[in-house]
């Protein structure tokens, strides 16, 4: 773990610079500990793959003092990094119309869509971070066999709730946005709903497993959500 000044109001805490679930678990544990700590002058903590951005008020605490406090906290927080991890089961329809890029993904991997879906639904992913847009989830890591390059020409509009692949990552678009990820399906769940008191379905550190569903089942869940009959507890556990 090392520290860099990140302007005069933030510290960048770098872990070993590698996309790795163990390293990310340490990031999440320390970031949670920072948010609940009572370090005076600490404002916010943004966890990423293998780093944390800690913002502070320099009128209340200095860079060096804050680094000391983070160092101290890390000694205790890193011990309980597996505490209360959630596992979310996310339904995805991988059929044409919900997916947009099977042709490209099959060509790049040399596999057929059914094989790719099998791998995508068998792997347990970890939410490494949220970023890019409110609620956009970066998850990993994909087995090398289904790793694909981004689209050479990004789409101007990727539909909301699209599930995509990029490099060794898989992710979900929380709202309609431009983007270059290869889209292999869509979930009927609103992973970001700004009108709810708790707008975000995921948080960094969550475990995620995808479940393949039919278009009928997709539309069924969509209806249940619309009429507020969907039981969100179904996706946990």
């Amino acid at each position: 773990m090392d520290f860099h000044p990140y302007g005069d109001s933030a510290v960048l805490v770098n872990f070993e610079q590698k996309i790795d679930p163990q390293i990310n678990s340490k990031v999440v544990a320390l970031s949670k500990a920072l948010v609940t700590s009572e370090i005076k002058g600490l404002i916010n903590s943004i966890p990423a793959y293998c780093s944390i951005t800690v913002t502070y008020n320099p009128l209340e605490i200095s860079y060096s003092k804050l680094c000391e406090e983070i160092e101290k906290l890390s000694a205790t927080s890193l011990g309980d990094q597996n505490a209360a991890l959630r596992v979310l089961s996310i339904p995805v329809c991988y059929e044409d119309g919900y997916s947009l890029d099977w042709e490209d993904v099959e060509k790049q991997t040399g596999l057929v869509s059914t094989e790719i879906i099998e791998i995508h639904t068998k792997t347990i992913f970890q939410v490494y971070m949220l970023g890019f847009l409110p609620g956009f989830v970066y998850m990993g890591s994909l087995p090398q066999s289904i790793a694909v390059a981004r689209k050479t020409k990004p789409r101007l509009k990727v539909p909301s709730r699209s599930v995509g692949l990029a490099g060794l990552q898989t992710g979900i678009y929380p709202s309609e946005a431009p983007g270059g990820w290869q889209i292999i399906g869509r979930t009927p769940l609103d992973i970001f709903d700004g009108h709810k008191a708790e707008p975000f379905l995921f948080q960094a550190g969550d475990s995620v497993r995808f479940k393949s569903i039919s278009p009928e089942s997709y539309m069924g869940i969509e209806q249940e959500i619309k009429s507020s009959n969907f039981n969100f507890d179904e996706i946990y556990g």
């Binding site: 860099h4 302007g7 005069d8 109001s9 890019f132 409110p134 970066y138 909301s160």
Partner: protein
């Protein structure tokens, strides 16, 4: 002193180029990918709110480059600080940086932009704005309009209740910023500063850079292409704070501002010191920027000095 009613409505006859309701933003939601947002020029907004007796965290209008045309329904007090967009009341030029009493039926218009980029219009009272995540700050998202009150369009109106009536105040002219180009901006070396070649760093620090037309509240692209820059310096995405200067693969610097994404993967050559963010907020396309390295302790001192001045003046 005339009697002031308890409620005022302001009507947007024209909204202007980009007129947004802003407050101090959504600090604390960045782990979910929500930008900080909030006013770009914090000092100007703070002064405008102080002039009408509002709290520093009160919402107000941030007006960029071209002003709106507003009609007031009801009597109230307003103030304008920041960029000079030649404000007029019922056709007559009106002073900035002071409390102004306006009456029912008054029309506020703006003319030519004389200096700066963003003007702040405060109105004394409680703004009735639909908040999202505890903030009134405008938030633009393509398919969910979460802050409908904060992005006024033609014909919209806003309601302010609990209209205040304070003694008329002003902010000293000699301390009002002039917003001139070139802009001198202090930076702290960024996390990847040492990965840049000496030639690239020299190019960055020894030249003036022009702000391009690719310019908004998320960030300013500069017209420069950094010499001797190796785009293979890939960085694993990490958190972004406003003021970060990142270098894209083509070698073009982008200064990230209030509405910037919360994560990014470009190498960061530097971070603008907090004490200089307000003057950067008043820069516009075509303006020149000259960067210089600042020590952390000097950045803290500049901030303490600013804070002491403001605390002394805004009593």
């Amino acid at each position: 002193m005339r009697f002031m009613g308890s409620q005022v409505k302001i009507y947007f006859i024209k909204p202007g180029l980009q007129t947004l309701v802003q407050d101090n933003g959504r600090m604390g939601q960045q782990a979910f990918g929500v930008p900080v947002g909030g006013v770009m020029d914090k000092s100007a907004a703070r002064i405008a709110n102080w002039l009408v007796g509002n709290d520093v965290k009160s919402p107000l209008l941030e007006i960029a480059l071209t002003g709106p045309h507003i009609e007031f329904e009801g009597d109230c007090q307003i103030a304008i600080a920041g960029a000079d967009i030649s404000p007029t009341i019922d056709g007559k030029p009106v002073n900035m940086y002071q409390t102004i009493t306006v009456n029912d039926g008054t029309e506020l218009k703006f003319r030519a932009l004389k200096n700066g980029c963003r003007a702040y219009l405060s109105i004394g009272g409680d703004w009735q704005i639909k908040k999202w995540l505890n903030s009134s700050s405008a938030f633009l998202l393509s398919d969910q309009n979460l802050t409908p009150d904060s992005i006024p369009v033609k014909g919209d109106h806003l309601v302010i209740e609990g209209i205040k009536n304070v003694d008329v105040k002003s902010f000293p002219p000699r301390l009002q910023p002039k917003h001139q180009s070139p802009i001198q901006i202090g930076i702290i070396p960024g996390p990847e500063f040492d990965d840049f070649s000496k030639k690239a760093v020299d190019h960055f620090l020894n030249n003036q850079h022009t702000i391009s037309n690719d310019y908004n509240r998320m960030g300013y692209r500069l017209e420069t292409i950094l010499s001797d820059f190796d785009p293979k310096q890939e960085v694993i995405s990490s958190g972004i704070v406003p003021g970060t200067i990142q270098i894209t693969n083509s070698g073009q610097p982008i200064i990230l501002m209030a509405d910037a994404q919360t994560t990014g993967g470009y190498p960061r050559i530097g971070n603008v010191i907090t004490a200089h963010m307000d003057k950067l907020a008043q820069a516009k396309p075509g303006d020149q920027i000259k960067f210089s390295l600042v020590k952390l302790e000097d950045a803290y001192q500049a901030l303490r000095d600013n804070e002491a001045t403001m605390n002394l003046l805004l009593k």
